[in-house]
């Protein structure tokens, strides 16, 4: 992992159509919306820092995650997709590069099926969200923390990037409770997918890059092939030293791939 210093931008509190969330923004250049995966909210890591060298990165926190209050109205993954389309409208972001990792990739894919015209490009990093024949996503809700780490990460030490959360205090446990509930509201059953999404992926008109960790045990490469097959013209890049979170395990390489892909799409406009 890259250990150069990361300057964490201040967290802003905003209200998106009445739903309060936190968001960090930094960088220069075209707008890029980054949607985090479950358990990774609120953090600004090397990956975001690298993207911010070329783009103005907006990194909101999903409702109920990492200190953003729970939103009782959210019942379905499409509610989150509309929530972020609302955020684009309210922030005056007409067109963005949209990058989503894991659960955030699922939300990003739903958004792309609804509003491709708002996207300069779409990057999905080991997304979940579709049913892939012969594969059942391992049920993280039944796992303790060490089991989750060994399922999600190729190199378990990489999980330390997400570690600074207080596991000993009641507040820390309540935050995890809130986050698990926020995820379960939309992902418990069917688990980590929307049965309607896969057929709709064919609607995506934005240039799409799929980034995948070769050792992903949550959504293995067979899932990547299914996504590549469904999204017209999608490009697949794999990362040899990563599990489910290549942007955390190989942040420089993944960021370089994202920057290259998105800049090429800027030039093509």
């Amino acid at each position: 992992m890259n250990d150069s210093p990361v300057t964490v931008p201040a967290e802003r509190r905003l209200s998106v159509r009445g739903t309060p969330i936190h968001m960090r923004s930094a960088g220069n250049g075209p707008a890029l919306l980054y949607l985090h995966g479950a358990g990774a909210g609120g953090r600004w890591l090397t990956f975001q820092e690298r993207l911010a060298e070329r783009f103005t990165v907006h990194a909101p926190t999903h409702p109920g995650h990492a200190g953003s209050p729970a939103a009782e109205w959210i019942e379905h993954i499409s509610d989150l997709a509309f929530h972020y389309l609302d955020l684009l409208d309210e922030q005056g972001l007409e067109r963005v590069h949209l990058v989503g990792a894991s659960f955030g990739g699922w939300i990003a894919a739903e958004m792309a099926t609804m509003a491709s015209h708002r996207l300069a490009s779409l990057v999905l990093i080991d997304p979940v969200g579709i049913k892939v024949d012969g594969w059942i996503y391992p049920f993280l809700f039944a796992m303790d923390l060490p089991q989750i780490v060994s399922t999600v990460f190729h190199n378990p030490m990489a999980a330390l990037a997400l570690a600074p959360r207080d596991l000993s205090s009641v507040d820390g446990l309540v935050e995890i409770h809130r986050e698990r509930a926020a995820l379960a509201r939309v992902a418990w059953n069917p688990y980590l997918y929307d049965p309607l999404l896969r057929r709709r992926l064919g609607r995506i008109a934005a240039p799409t890059l799929l980034c995948w960790g070769e050792h992903d045990r949550l959504a293995p490469l067979a899932c990547a092939e299914a996504w590549a097959q469904e999204i017209p013209g999608a490009t697949l890049r794999t990362f040899a030293d990563s599990g489910h979170a290549p942007h955390i395990e190989e942040p420089d390489a993944v960021a370089a791939a994202v920057v290259e892909f998105c800049r090429a799409r800027e030039g093509a406009r």
């Binding site: 809700f141 309540v174 379960a184």
Partner: protein, 381 residues
């Protein structure tokens, strides 16, 4: 005080798996053994009625060796025909676990009509691991519980047909045949572990509150909250609204009772309730407030309890008839609980029958000042 005989109908076995629920393979279940166990357990219930118990209690749990009654209504149906006097308490049906809760309204009504109005209908949410076994979204658990309860109560009390258009349950015609025999409906009990929301909900409706496998200090605290809530809703709780559920082991003397309890009563806690933390805590099953309260008090997990914890904490009652009477007085006189639901973990079937007889002969008669009071009058509806 009223006495109800309670049974989990366990499949007693030892194993080294991390969980006795959800994932413990059913290859361990030998139906030949199960045949013997089920029939012994049902015999014990029938024995309880003959010995003077006021009621018998069955309950719903799924995919475990702790309690093998996935359908409590089936057990209640057998008891309805094999008993004539005792109340039959289903503690309870897991309302949110059902896709069609109207089925509960139908089944309880059937049981009530067949039994001549002896049914008590417990409404429960099911414990954490149940949500892993059944697949229902635990973040919907509480709202499904409230909605199903409203549907069932209306189905029992309003003339049908009427439409019901809820968030989870929708019907053009709610019109179950039969209707229950008891009017306006069978008493409803709420077995629970003390979440603030359930205490309020039950107190508001005069539904008796049942604490299951809880230390006596916490029972006292939750009872106080329940009583206070009843006062706020404009009435004083009857003793028959406060029920405790705990195992009792009685023998000729304290030493013998303790030996029997050490051999048999620990299994429920150390094996039957061996449940990994994620299964105890499905996401969103507890409200944030209840979760915070649980994490602040941090009660021991069942598997962490020693025999001394169980005895001193008041999770169980163990001793000679005199000792058991003294311990029960704490519940009847200090906590003012009107009903005790207890099983008797004695070991073998024969030992259980003997222990029940000793309890009925040497303990129960000392608590019968209320022998002619109907514990269901004015409560539970």
């Amino acid at each position: 005080m009223k006495f109800y005989y309670f049974h989990l109908m366990p499949y007693p076995m030892e194993h080294d798996e991390p969980s006795s629920w959800v994932t413990l393979s059913n290859r361990h279940y030998d139906p030949e053994v199960g045949h013997t166990l089920y029939n012994q357990y049902l015999d014990q219930f029938e024995h309880a009625e003959r010995l003077g118990w006021d009621g018998v209690c069955v309950n719903e749990h799924h995919q475990n060796c702790y309690g093998t009654m996935p359908s409590p209504n089936i057990m209640a149906a057998m008891l309805a025909r094999r008993t004539t006097r005792a109340r039959i308490a289903v503690l309870g049906n897991g309302l949110p676990l059902r896709e069609n809760p109207l089925r509960i309204a139908e089944e309880i009504a059937m049981l009530d009509v067949v039994s001549g109005g002896r049914i008590i209908s417990g409404f429960v949410r099911g414990i954490g691991p149940e949500y892993y076994s059944v697949g229902v979204n635990p973040t919907h658990s509480r709202d499904r519980f409230y909605e199903a309860a409203e549907l069932i109560l209306r189905a029992w009390t309003e003339d049908g047909p009427f439409p019901f258009d809820g968030r989870f349950y929708r019907y053009h015609w709610v019109n179950p045949w039969p209707r229950p025999l008891q009017r306006p409906h069978p008493p409803v009990w709420c077995p629970s572990q003390g979440s603030t929301e359930t205490v309020e909900w039950a107190a508001k409706r005069r539904f008796p509150y049942l604490m299951v496998f809880t230390p006596i200090s916490r029972i006292a605290q939750i009872y106080a909250e329940y009583r206070e809530a009843c006062e706020r809703f404009g009435y004083t709780a009857s003793p028959y609204q406060l029920t405790v559920n705990l195992p009792i082991v009685v023998a000729e003397n304290d030493a013998k009772a303790r030996k029997i309890a050490q051999e048999n009563a620990l299994w429920v806690y150390h094996t039957g309730l061996r449940i990994p933390i994620p299964f105890w805590q499905p996401p969103g099953y507890l409200s944030e407030g209840s979760f915070r309260r649980a994490m602040t008090s941090r009660p021991k997990l069942p598997t962490e309890l020693t025999f001394e914890d169980l005895e001193e904490g008041g999770y169980i009652i163990v001793g000679s008839p005199a000792t058991v009477r003294d311990r029960l007085r704490v519940f009847s006189d200090e906590l003012k609980a009107g009903i005790v639901c207890s099983g008797m973990p004695a070991g073998t079937h024969e030992a259980t029958l003997d222990m029940m007889e000793m309890f009925a002969r040497e303990v129960m008669p000392h608590f019968r000042e209320d022998a002619h009071v109907d514990e269901t009058a004015g409560v539970g509806r």
